[in-house]
């Protein structure tokens, strides 16, 4: 099952659903890397509200998405980590260092607005 990527202005939005396989995640990573360039996007929001489990493979892929997007000129924000999922992640020993997180899609977009604006002021 391909994870759809939506375009919203300068940003790309992808929602991870309940039962995604490792292959779906790898494909999302590749698709995002391509689309960030093709659409000259400045930011990526990955919404994980529907994800029932965030295991080490999922987290590693999200961190990779953040790194690859950064190298392609876009910021990444992860939104929608459920409380129980966040709790399990902490116990598992997983961290999302170096990647921004927000409560929901709205907050994720607000974070991107701040970061992308901040960066253009630096120039």
């Amino acid at each position: 099952m391909t994870i759809p990527i939506l375009k919203l202005g300068d940003y790309l939005i992808a929602s991870i659903q309940t039962a995604v396989t490792d292959a779906d995640l790898i494909r999302l990573q590749d698709d995002l890397a391509t689309e960030v360039g093709d659409l000259r996007s400045r930011g990526v929001v990955v919404d994980v509200t529907a994800a029932d489990v965030m295991d080490s493979f999922t987290i590693r892929t999200l961190l990779d998405i953040g790194q690859v997007s950064k190298l392609r000129g876009a910021e990444t924000v992860i939104v929608g980590l459920r409380p129980d999922v966040a709790f399990a992640m902490v116990q598992l020993g997983l961290r999302l260092d170096g990647i921004a997180t927000g409560l929901d899609l709205e907050e994720g977009l607000a974070i991107l607005d701040q970061r992308v604006d901040g960066r253009s002021h630096e120039r």
């Binding site: 396989t21 987290i59 399990a88």
Partner: protein, 142 residues
């Protein structure tokens, strides 16, 4: 102790099936919402280890009662290459594969009991148990 038939683990899809099955049994055992996620995460990690390192194996779930508590036992077996240094494999950040190296030590932290037996060339068996917290048991009885 009621044993379920073993679930064959040989592909990515089987990882999803295993954690869904584990979640359903956790519900049956009387676990609460956040424990479903904790169990499903631990199952996901050990099922992925089977697919990644041993190619295939099986997971057997069973519900157990001990004293006044109920638990879910997850046994993951494979006849893969085995682990030459189990102590090393149980350390955070150690991985011979392309991963974060948190699978085994992470699963141990998520569960109440965790045992791993492995011999190079013979395979690996992980046995892990989570007990229904007393508060959830009291709620279920009411």
């Amino acid at each position: 102790m009621s044993d379920e038939p073993g679930l064959r683990i040989g592909s990515e899809h089987d990882i999803l099936t295993a954690r869904q099955r584990g979640r359903a049994l956790a519900e049956e055992a009387g676990f609460s919402g956040s424990d479903f996620t904790v169990l499903a995460t631990a199952i996901s990690e050990i099922a992925r280890n089977i697919v990644q390192y041993a190619d295939h194996g099986e997971i057997v779930f069973s519900l157990v009662e001990r004293d006044a508590s109920r638990g879910l036992v997850v046994v993951a077996r494979d006849q893969g290459p085995g682990i030459s240094d189990v102590d090393m494999a149980m350390q955070d950040g150690y991985s011979t594969g392309r991963s974060l190296g948190l699978g085994l030590p992470g699963a141990r932290r998520l569960m109440d009991e965790f045992d791993i037996q492995s011999r190079p060339g013979e395979g690996t068996t992980v046995t892990m148990t989570k007990w229904v917290p007393a508060a959830s048991m009291a709620r279920a009885k009411r």
